[in-house]
Symmetry: C2
Subunit: 345 residues, 2 copies
DNA sequence: GGTTTTTATGTTAACGTTAACATTATAGTA
DNA sequence: TACTATAATGTTAACGTTAACATAAAAACC
């Protein structure tokens, strides 16, 4: 069983130095054309594969980007990863994928591992359970560029790419208000996560600007999952009839799905009895019994821009820290009350 | 701006040798407890992060697995990746994720890159457009363990983990036959992909065993996407009435969705006029106007088992080559004709 | 107390590559 | 032709770690 072929062996085969082999294979100048050809063909014939590990060690650069994702099965992330991969691939970088499973402990470990593997930069969407930023700061102390995407951390001097959560939440809430609803509930995300905070603020801002009072009883933290949406909606439905909301703004589509189930199980109609809107345009949104009005997040675009920004930081250490906002789009379906009587509001 | 801290600097700080630092930090025996403590605390204080690249070079092992996925947004893959990540994480390995985008050229490049990055093994689900196996064989020549998952390549001496495509296709076809349908069509996958071939064979086998003749006009290659299913179904609907199928077995759910749209747009009912079944239990399957009967693929399990098998190959070079089949499950909904009259067949 | 065993630490070389400098061959110039 | 500029190739050291062997110190034995 032959061992792996190295540049040294190719050099010996040709009776030349390793350096000439290296130069020939890396398209460097000052190599005779004939030599270069011989080297290339001999290397191929011998099955030589350059050792990127050795190269990384001497160059102090791995052409690898670390990626930390909280929950890869959320429909947003596969799309975002595709955008990231596209940008990275185009620039000749590979991706090390790690999964925090929404656990801050695991996220921290992943960051340490990535630093240890000497990635050139890190792309991260924070876990739900993160409470302090020490692990991010320790990465930054290593002068390792870090770019947040979707779920951001502000004020620690890192770039961030996300959608305009505040504006989007405000816009979709305002849309409900236009329908004439006055008692509007919000199923909120965890306040520890930037998008949770931004969306609740957008909701409140829309209510304020339209002269509607905010009833704290109608704001319930439900988290990002269907079960939380279901539970929270049940609580709302247990309020006395006159306090119950006419419409609901859910922090994301899964939470909205849960809430929709709760509404239907209580024998109420959507949107006639209670209107509801989501956030994220999950693939299931348009297939619900009453198609869900929601916000479409350009996940691919977010991923791509985040990767591009990270690459810029990697290749130019004076690249300015930026907070990039990608515009989202409201997708009007029926659950808000539009079309239900045959015409759009 | 301080440079990165190395073991050498920690050693100098303490006035001891690098080797003692290395031993202390790696929990090796024969280090005085006091020395070990001092090393660990000093390393932490100085912000030392071990360099895995250097370690990989000397150990000739990277604790990294290469992953090649054809289309990360297919709902199967995020789940499978989660399983892979789980197994890899548990064993202390990281994942380099590459995306072939169903393109064999790009897949080949990804494999070369992974070999160059000295991954310890490769997990791959082949691209649709792959025609020859040279790139896989070149990986195997490097003694790099490779395990196929979901879409397999047989006969080249690599392990493979997939669901029982043949049996599952046979089972779901037989289910349609039990309903009494005799003219059954198949929208097939590309025959270049193992699962495409296995499913068509399962379909034919079920027809055979139940004494039904196979009409080649009713077998159309539609590929894995919605558009192909739609187009193919239109072709079937252009056949003379007496030749049109009573039921359709689609190669996967997206193809089935496309076909369902074509059926409905032609004013036909599902399943009364044409019954249909899919394959993969896409998240949308139960939300269709007529919920789709399909095969549930345990994607997480497939990913996890594939990763485990690869790890076994990595850690024991005599590990036997295996073809592992994960059992799938038929999910009965309404599109096959069950429940449509209020009772299950 | 001296010899052997065990434990703790140090030294050297190696992993496979490239940068930087050194040398040799070739071409160009006067 | 001799001298210089340029192109092609070679040599050495370095990247940060660990294995393998070497040595020194401490403990155990008779």
């Amino acid at each position: 069983m032959r061992k792996r072929i190295t540049a040294k062996q190719v050099a010996e085969e040709l009776g030349i130095s390793i350096m000439t082999v290296s130069r020939a294979l890396n398209n460097r100048p000052n190599v005779d054309d004939k030599t270069r050809e011989k080297v290339i063909s001999t290397a191929r014939r011998m099955g030589y594969v350059p050792d990127h590990i050795a190269k990384s060690l001497v160059l102090q650069k791995t052409f690898t980007i670390g990626l930390v994702v909280p929950e890869i099965t959320h429909s947003f992330f596969p799309e975002a990863i595709r955008g990231i991969e596209e940008a990275a691939y185009g620039a000749g970088y590979q991706l090390i994928l790690t999964h925090s499973a929404e656990d801050s402990e695991r996220e921290n470990k992943a960051l340490q591992t990535l630093a240890s593997k000497r990635v050139d930069g890190i792309l991260i969407s924070t876990a739900e359970s993160v409470t302090d930023y020490e692990s991010y700061e320790s990465i930054m102390r290593l002068k390792l560029p870090i770019v947040f995407f979707d779920r951001c951390v502000y004020g620690i001097g890192a770039s961030c790419v996300s959608i305009d959560d505040f504006e989007s939440a405000k816009k979709i809430t305002a849309h409900l208000i236009q329908h004439g609803y006055k008692k509007i509930a919000h199923l909120s995300g965890p306040s520890s996560v930037s998008i949770g905070r931004a969306r609740i603020e957008g909701f409140k801002n829309a209510m304020d600007e339209n002269g509607l009072s905010i009833n704290d009883e109608l704001i319930i933290e439900s988290g990002f999952h269907e079960a939380g949406g279901y539970e929270s909606m049940l609580k709302l439905l247990q309020l006395p009839k006159e306090k119950q909301p006419q419409a609901v703004v859910a922090v994301n589509d899964p939470a909205a799905f849960g809430a929709m189930n709760a509404i239907l199980e209580n024998g109420l109609r959507i949107p006639e009895d209670i209107a509801i809107v989501g956030f994220s345009d999950d693939i299931r949104a348009e297939l619900m019994p009453t198609p869900l009005t929601t916000i479409r997040q350009p996940a691919y675009e977010v991923g791509k821009r985040a990767a591009q920004k990270l690459l810029a930081h990697i290749e130019n250490k004076d690249e300015i820290i930026d907070e990039i906002i990608i515009k989202s789009e409201i997708v009007i379906r029926e659950s808000c009350g539009c079309y239900s009587d045959g015409k759009k509001i």
